[in-house]
């Protein structure tokens, strides 16, 4: 298999391929793995076994994890329930609340750049007699609080707005959203998968009633997640979506994934201790990457607010270069693209389209997701490599040539197919 030729030298200490897609998933922190190991081997008990030490040991480990998570998000262990991941947490929150509060109303409010786990749960409810409002976002990716205020009516039971977006890293004003919901007596759920452990997230300060968390986005294991469910002011009730042995206070039956839960807990403990320094470090790397790209390339466009943003996220459109061809040239760097050519549906990213970007700009986007284990040397290599390939591809791009010649691309009659 031939490789892509590039003149860019690999600096010392940099090992290829480089992983820079930490919003998709993150590597397991070795400290997390270490904490999990005994629960795969000698400490294999079922946390629901009440009659012997194997069960007690497992239960103890689960309760420790509950506390570690609770501490990170500013709540108590009793308000955390475990799930198989954030997809399940989102489904359980939205469908479970919709079902429980059906008497009170049938209206749900969410927004267009949510993760599919939220959007598809809402679509499912629409088929069952619920009404869903999908708020638009502004060009910077944030919702307009006035839109939300006007959308709430006397049938509204739930607002579900994510804390941080997984593609563009934009942070929604959740504290204000929560405040508004509480004034109106509406439950506020937030998909906090990308923000927990990355930026301060506190269910009290942020007025959150229900929050989804995932293990594998915070250097923990895949297939484990949690749902925070508020017990006081207001007390939120959720109808179970999986029936069985009545685990997790009846909200989520099923034998607990003890090693996974231990890992999620440990990941939260580490995040709690290191988040503040890590955020500064990642924002530094992110800004360095951005500055390097901007100094060498014209027609680049940062997608989403830079001000309200996760420290490790940079989403850039290299206009007049198609995203998949760019990924092909930087195939020793793992990043992702909003280009249609990379998606199964051949549709460009719905998140980028929601910002009002033309499809052509969406096709040109790359998401860099920096994480705990990325280094400055890696950032320098990635920047150099991207610059090299973008220049190569722009030499091949008829659009870039036309724009350079002063032709207005919007005036051309394209033969769209």
């Amino acid at each position: 298999m031939s490789t892509i030729a590039s003149q860019v030298e690999v600096p010392e200490g940099v090992h290829l391929p480089i992983y820079m897609d930490n919003h998709a998933t993150s590597p397991l922190d070795p400290r997390v793995l270490e904490a999990m190991m005994p629960y795969f081997t000698t400490k294999f008990g079922n946390a629901a076994s009440r009659n012997h030490s194997f069960g007690w040991e497992a239960e103890q480990a689960v309760e420790t994890a509950r506390e570690q998570i609770a501490k990170l998000i500013g709540t108590t262990a009793k308000e955390i329930i475990f799930t198989s991941g954030a997809t399940e947490s989102d489904n359980l929150a939205i469908k479970g609340i919709a079902e429980m509060y059906r008497e009170r109303g049938n209206h749900i409010i969410t927004q267009v750049t949510e993760h599919k786990a939220v959007l598809d749960s809402c679509k499912h409810l629409e088929k069952n007699g619920y009404r869903v409002t999908y708020l638009p976002v502004k060009a910077d990716g944030l919702i307009d609080l006035d839109d939300l205020r006007h959308a709430i009516d006397d049938k509204t039971i739930l607002v579900s707005i994510m804390a941080a977006n997984n593609e563009i890293g934009v942070l929604q004003p959740i504290a204000e959203i929560g405040k508004l919901c509480h004034e109106k007596g509406v439950i506020f759920h937030t998909d906090a998968v990308q923000s927990v452990g990355k930026v301060p997230f506190n269910v009290i300060a942020d007025n959150v009633d229900v929050a989804s968390i995932s293990g594998h986005k915070i250097y923990g294991p895949k297939g484990v997640g949690a749902l925070y469910v508020r017990r006081r002011n207001p007390r939120v009730q959720i109808a179970a979506q999986i029936d069985g042995g009545g685990h997790e206070r009846g909200m989520r039956s099923g034998t607990l994934n003890v090693p996974g839960i231990v890992g999620l807990g440990k990941a939260c403990e580490i995040a709690n201790a290191e988040m503040a320094t890590e955020a500064v470090y990642l924002a530094g790397l992110r800004d360095r990457l951005k500055a390097k790209l901007e100094s060498e390339l014209d027609y680049i466009h940062v997608n989403g607010s830079m001000e309200h943003r996760l420290p490790g996220n940079l989403n850039v459109s290299f206009v007049y270069v198609e995203g998949e061809s760019l990924l092909m040239g930087i195939n020793d760097v793992a990043v992702s693209s909003g280009s249609a050519c990379t998606s199964a549906t051949l549709e460009p990213s719905y998140v980028l389209k929601a910002l009002g970007l033309g499809d052509d700009v969406a096709h040109s986007s790359i998401r860099f997701g920096l994480g705990r284990f990325n280094t400055q040397a890696e950032v320098d290599y990635v920047a150099a490599k991207v610059i090299d390939i973008v220049k190569h591809l722009r030499e091949l791009s008829p659009l870039y040539e036309m724009v350079k010649e002063g032709i207005d691309l919007t005036k051309i009659q394209w033969a769209a197919h």
């Binding site: 031939s2 030729a5 998949e324 791009s397 659009l399 033969a415 769209a416 197919h417």
Partner: protein, 141 residues
């Protein structure tokens, strides 16, 4: 996505990149696709008016690696062929040569479209030129 060695080769060393003088009567230009679709190909040919042989071909492509490779290959294949011969090139030939997977078939279709559009443009220009010649001949009689 795993790319075939041939796709990677065309991506790394694209053949015949560039542009020909659009206003020349010997040149035909095909511009196909649309930026919103994520793919735009411009393929140009310079045809010898005596022999109808495509003596030069140039392309530029905005699109995925398979689209770049398809158009690069297309320029290689049409060079040295007569116009009518070049029209015989099918997208399936490109798919085979580059081992494109099913999701990338439309990239090869675009390359075939680009060949047809360039030849169509050249024919349009030259049939017009022929009529002018004929008209001049009539007047001269």
């Amino acid at each position: 996505m795993a790319y075939s060695d041939k796709v990677i080769d065309h991506y790394n060393n694209p053949r015949n990149v560039g542009q020909l003088d659009k206003s020349s009567t010997e040149v035909g230009t095909g511009l196909v696709g649309a930026p919103e679709c994520g793919d735009v190909m411009r393929l140009q040919i310079r045809v010898n008016p005596e022999t109808q042989v495509i003596e030069e071909a140039k392309f530029k492509t905005f699109g995925c690696g398979s689209a770049i490779a398809s158009s690069s290959l297309a320029t290689e294949w049409i060079k040295g062929r007569t116009v009518d011969d070049a029209l015989g090139i099918k997208n399936t030939d490109i798919v085979k040569e580059l081992s494109l997977p099913p999701v990338k078939i439309h990239c090869s279709v675009l390359a075939e479209d680009a060949i047809r559009a360039a030849i169509g443009d050249w024919k349009k220009k030259n049939s017009a030129a022929e009529t002018v010649d004929a008209a001049v001949a009539v007047v001269a009689q």
